[in-house]
């Protein structure tokens, strides 16, 4: 197990840098680009946008001025209206014509007021001794009884034809005063070229309406738009900031805090001011910078989290691999952990390395087992090389003793003679192959010994395909199988049985069948033998069978293994095939 904390730490640090750099790159590249582009766009457009905005404000004021001029024109240049209005205001006795004219004037003023909701009231004044004037909200009014008197003083001191004034009109003492922008326009006699005015039109526009208008135009939340007249009086502004400093553009406070833009019109004598707090102007940039900062923080946190998770996963995987190598866990567990899903190159490589390792380990084990078996067989072979001399000498002694006792050749000496021949054959070099014919001949000798010994005739039948008898096979190929058939098949049975050996030539192979009609084995025994044959084990029981099977596999490979089929009390079939070399 990986217990060393430094390994985990190393994994975490490596993972952190990997994730951090990958995620950091877009943030570091994109956000500054966006911020810089945004900054240049703001800087480049702000003057143009302000100019356009203030032009709209100027146009609005110009339209208001034009409306006032239109009313002034009506009262100055329309002779009938001019005459009637003056007569109504200056005379005490009212003629019917004047009364009718008064109705007309009153309706005209009311219509002008009603059609523009931003107009609070309109006054039309021609100089008269009574202080009378037309008021659009009522009718004829007399200044000494009227709630709004300031405007007349302004008119008296006016040098220009037209001017603007910010005022408040309080109609009732209990009501809030109404802030208005009063536009004055002097009236001149209709029929003479006299340059002295003899009256004035005052149109009182509601400041609130104008303030709402400029507020809606504002580009930024806290942008201040103000309109200042020739006398530096603020006609309207949409915020509450103190604009006194603005009138003096050299003010440091304004310069430091606000982006200011001023437009002055000679014609109106009006200055239009736009002030945008830098905090508002660059609000978007601040916001982007904040997003960048938060993104960096997010990247940092995510990198740590991902690195930690990745390190945990890698350490776990590493532990599994080490456990596998140490044989602490089964390969199948690791393979389940390291799946070859092709998602990760390193997983893929690791998977293949582990698979190769497992296969090599397995092969190594198999090789060790085979080596052990080979050593055992070699030992047996060596032992068999010693035994033949001893056995051959012994058999010769027995042979001559049997002749001496019987006085001549007898059954015993014959059997010993046959056995000696068989022994010589069997003890031959294992690596030296023999023809099938030789193998059959020695089997026939073996069977005759068995017949001599047990005084019974073994019904041995040979079914050998022509042309196959000269084919070489390993020594003692069929004898153990015939012996197995006699020992476990025929001899177990109470009555005589038959053994048939069939040999056929296939495609580059010889196929053998050893069939007996002996006792056979029970089903479970049959399964056990088959399993053992598969496992290539050598058992003490059916030793000939398993020995032959093992020799066949060692010589010809797994495909030459024995196939065993048996039916209890009916017989057994063994078949196999060997390649023709």
């Amino acid at each position: 197990m990986v217990k060393d904390i430094s390994v985990r730490k190393k994994f975490i640090i490596q993972g952190f840098w990997k994730y951090f750099i990958i995620m950091l790159l877009p943030v570091l590249v994109l956000e500054p680009v966006i911020i810089i582009c945004d900054y240049h766009e703001i800087e480049g457009n702000i003057e143009f946008r302000n100019k356009r905005l203030l032009y709209q404000v100027e146009s609005k004021l110009e339209n208001m001025q034009q409306d006032v001029s239109s009313i002034a024109y009506h009262f100055s240049k329309s002779i009938q209206t001019n005459y009637a209005a003056k007569a109504i205001l200056t005379k005490d006795i009212m003629s019917t014509d004047l009364l009718e004219n008064m109705e007309g004037i009153q309706q005209y003023l009311q219509n002008m007021q009603n059609t523009d909701p931003s107009i609070f009231s309109i006054y039309v004044y021609f100089e008269n001794d009574y202080g009378r004037f037309f008021d659009s909200r009522t009718r004829i009014q007399q200044l000494n009884n009227f709630y709004d008197k300031d405007w007349l003083g302004k008119y008296m001191n006016m040098k220009e034809i037209s001017c603007y004034q910010a005022r408040q009109i309080q109609e009732y003492d209990f009501a809030d005063p109404v802030p208005v922008i009063s536009i004055y326009h002097k009236l001149f006699p209709a029929t003479t070229s006299q340059e002295e005015s003899d009256g004035v039109i005052v149109v009182n526009y509601k400041q609130d309406a104008f303030r709402n208008y400029i507020s809606n135009l504002a580009l930024y939340n806290n942008q201040t738009i103000a309109v200042v007249n020739f006398d530096n009086e603020i006609l309207v502004q949409n915020t509450d900031i103190n604009l006194e400093n603005v009138v003096d553009p050299a003010s440091c406070l304004i310069e430091k805090t606000y982006f200011s833009y001023l437009e002055y019109t000679d014609k109106q004598g009006i200055t239009y001011i736009s002030l945008i707090p830098y905090t508002d102007l660059y609000e978007q940039l601040y916001f982007l910078a904040l997003v960048s900062g938060v993104s960096l923080l997010l990247v940092l946190v995510l990198s740590i989290v991902l690195a930690w998770k990745s390190a945990s996963r890698e350490v776990h995987r590493l532990n599994n691999v080490i456990s596998l190598i140490n044989h602490e866990i089964q390969p199948s567990d690791v393979m389940g952990f390291v799946k070859n899903e092709g998602k990760n190159l390193y997983d893929y490589i690791l998977y293949n390395v582990l698979q190769m390792f497992i296969e090599q380990d397995y092969m190594k084990m198999q090789y060790s087992q085979k080596k052990y078996k080979m050593e055992m067989l070699n030992l047996q072979a060596l032992q068999q090389q010693i035994n033949p001399h001893f056995m051959n000498n012994t058999l010769n002694s027995i042979y001559w003793e049997a002749i001496r006792i019987g006085g001549k050749k007898n059954t015993c000496s014959n059997m010993v003679d046959k056995l000696s021949v068989i022994m010589n054959y069997a003890m031959g070099m294992p690596s030296q192959e023999v023809t099938l014919r030789e193998e059959i001949e020695y089997i026939k000798l073996y069977i005759s010994i068995q017949e001599d010994r047990f005084k019974e005739k073994i019904d041995m039948r040979w079914d050998i395909e022509d042309g196959t008898q000269d084919i070489c096979v390993i020594r003692m190929l069929l004898q153990p199988l015939i012996e197995n058939a006699i020992t476990h098949g025929i001899r177990e049975k109470k009555f005589a049985g038959a053994i048939k050996c069939r040999v056929r030539q296939g495609d580059d192979c010889l196929v053998f069948w050893i069939i007996d009609t002996g006792q056979g084995v029970e089903k479970n025994k049959e399964e056990e033998i088959r399993t053992r044959l598969m496992d290539t084990e050598i058992e003490t029981d059916h030793i000939g069978l398993f020995n032959t099977n093992l020799r066949l596999i060692l010589k010809y490979g797994q495909q030459a293994c024995l196939h065993f089929r048996s039916k209890y009390k009916s017989g057994t079939i063994i078949h196999f095939k060997i390649p023709i070399i």
Partner: protein, 424 residues
């Protein structure tokens, strides 16, 4: 493992979304003004404005989420203003209105008064005979503010000075006779002040109604009088004008605000036309005692004239953005005791019987009898043709010419009828 990966992804996405959401939340935002703004327009005199503004303030305190923007003025020009706003679709949310204006204004208008019943306004306390005056077709377009009637406001000192009593002016002849006596005694004194508008819109319809029992024009545009009857009314007016029972028309008389009229303020006028509400509001404004008396009647008059009428009411625009809030405010203003604690009688006698009775118990209104019965009420007062602005304007012009001596009363009567026929 797959499930764990899935959970990990969800957690990661959640973290990112959460952070981004928080970051977005960091963006500075402007405070949002949640108040619902209702515009409210009315006409009246100073007392009406004062009491209505106080009531609005009270309501705004009770409902901080409501902001009521008042717009008020005198009666002069109010009709034209509402007509223009209705035509152009700029009506206030709540506005003072008269049913008699409906036909003149509603045709082709972009906005109209809404049906108050559909808005859920409760008319409990409004008698059925009053409801008739609030209805146009099937729609209830106004909530009646007050019931009022034309009467004469009397300068008690003046009457006493000439040893007159209020009871002696039962007929128009009594008034004419007394007026002549005043002039013969003091050339600067006049018994009755009446403006050209009052001659045209109060005296003439009242007199003709006494004479015929009908409105000047029926709903179908038929005259409620004949030329003889109209001539008789104009004769009386001409008599009073020529005998200086009423002062000559001059600019002084045209100056807005009768209360500011110097002759009346200086005690040189014996009586003037008015209504209960104007009497109430005037009481504190003049420095002499005033009282009221019924409009004189002719002998054998068919109708008494001077009946109670629903003069005006409050309407709600059918395009208001806040119908529920507008109707709630209207309901509160015209039929809640909280509102009337402030408004009192400044708008006249409340049309709502429940409020009227409550006010009778809780306020004193000397000389005014508030228990109005159905037979004292002019159910037909809202006849729109009789009140039509154009009809009124043509009459006014002809009356001015008549008083100026340019045409006779007979010619004036004839011209009024001919010009009216031309209009329709």
């Amino acid at each position: 493992m797959r499930l764990q990966k899935c959970i990990n992804k969800i957690v990661t996405v959640g973290v990112i979304v959460g952070v981004i959401t928080n970051v977005s939340g960091c963006k500075p935002s402007q405070p949002i003004e949640n108040k619902k703004v209702l515009s409210f327009s009315w006409w009246g005199d100073e007392e009406v404005h004062r009491s209505t503004l106080a009531a609005i303030e009270k309501y705004e305190r009770m409902h901080p989420e409501i902001d009521i923007v008042p717009e008020y003025q005198g009666q002069e020009g109010y009709f034209q203003k509402i007509a223009t706003q209705m035509a152009s679709g700029n009506l206030p949310d709540i506005f003072q209105y008269q049913c008699s204006w409906y036909e003149q204004m509603a045709s082709g208008a972009l906005e109209k008064p809404a049906d108050l019943k559909k808005l859920g306004v409760d008319f409990e306390g409004i008698e059925e005979w009053i409801m008739v005056s609030c209805t146009v077709g099937e729609e209830v377009v106004i909530y009646p503010i007050c019931v009022d009637k034309n009467l004469l406001i009397v300068n008690q000192d003046f009457i006493d000075e000439y040893n007159f009593t209020n009871n002696q002016f039962k007929t128009w002849d009594d008034l004419l006779e007394a007026g002549i006596e005043v002039q013969s005694t003091n050339k600067t004194h006049y018994l009755l002040q009446i403006s050209i508008d009052e001659m045209n819109e109060i005296f003439l319809p009242e007199y003709l109604k006494q004479l015929t029992g009908k409105n000047m024009l029926s709903d179908k545009g038929k005259f409620g009088f004949d030329s003889t009857q109209l001539t008789e009314a104009l004769d009386l007016l001409q008599n009073m004008y020529q005998n200086k029972v009423i002062p000559r028309l001059n600019v002084e008389a045209m100056i807005t605000g009768n209360i500011d009229n110097r002759r009346w303020e200086n005690g040189k006028i014996g009586m003037r036309f008015g209504t209960i509400s104007s009497f109430i509001n005037m009481k504190e404004k003049v420095n002499f005692p005033i009282s009221v008396m019924d409009v004189p009647q002719m002998e054998q008059s068919v109708s008494s004239g001077g009946e109670y009428q629903v003069k005006t009411g409050f309407a709600i625009s059918d395009h208001t953005s806040y119908p529920k809030e507008a109707s709630d405010f209207l309901q509160w203003l015209v039929c809640s005791k909280e509102a009337y604690e402030t408004v009192q009688f400044t708008r006249g006698i409340p049309a709502n019987k429940i409020i009227r009775e409550w006010l009778m118990e809780n306020s004193s209104l000397e000389g005014i009898y508030l228990n109005i019965q159905e037979d004292e009420f002019d159910i037909d007062s809202t006849n729109s043709l009789s009140c039509h602005e154009e009809f009124s304007a043509l009459r006014k012009g002809i009356i001015i010419q008549m008083l100026d001596g340019k045409i006779s009363t007979k010619e004036a009567a004839w011209q009024i009828m001919m010009e009216t026929i031309k209009i329709w």
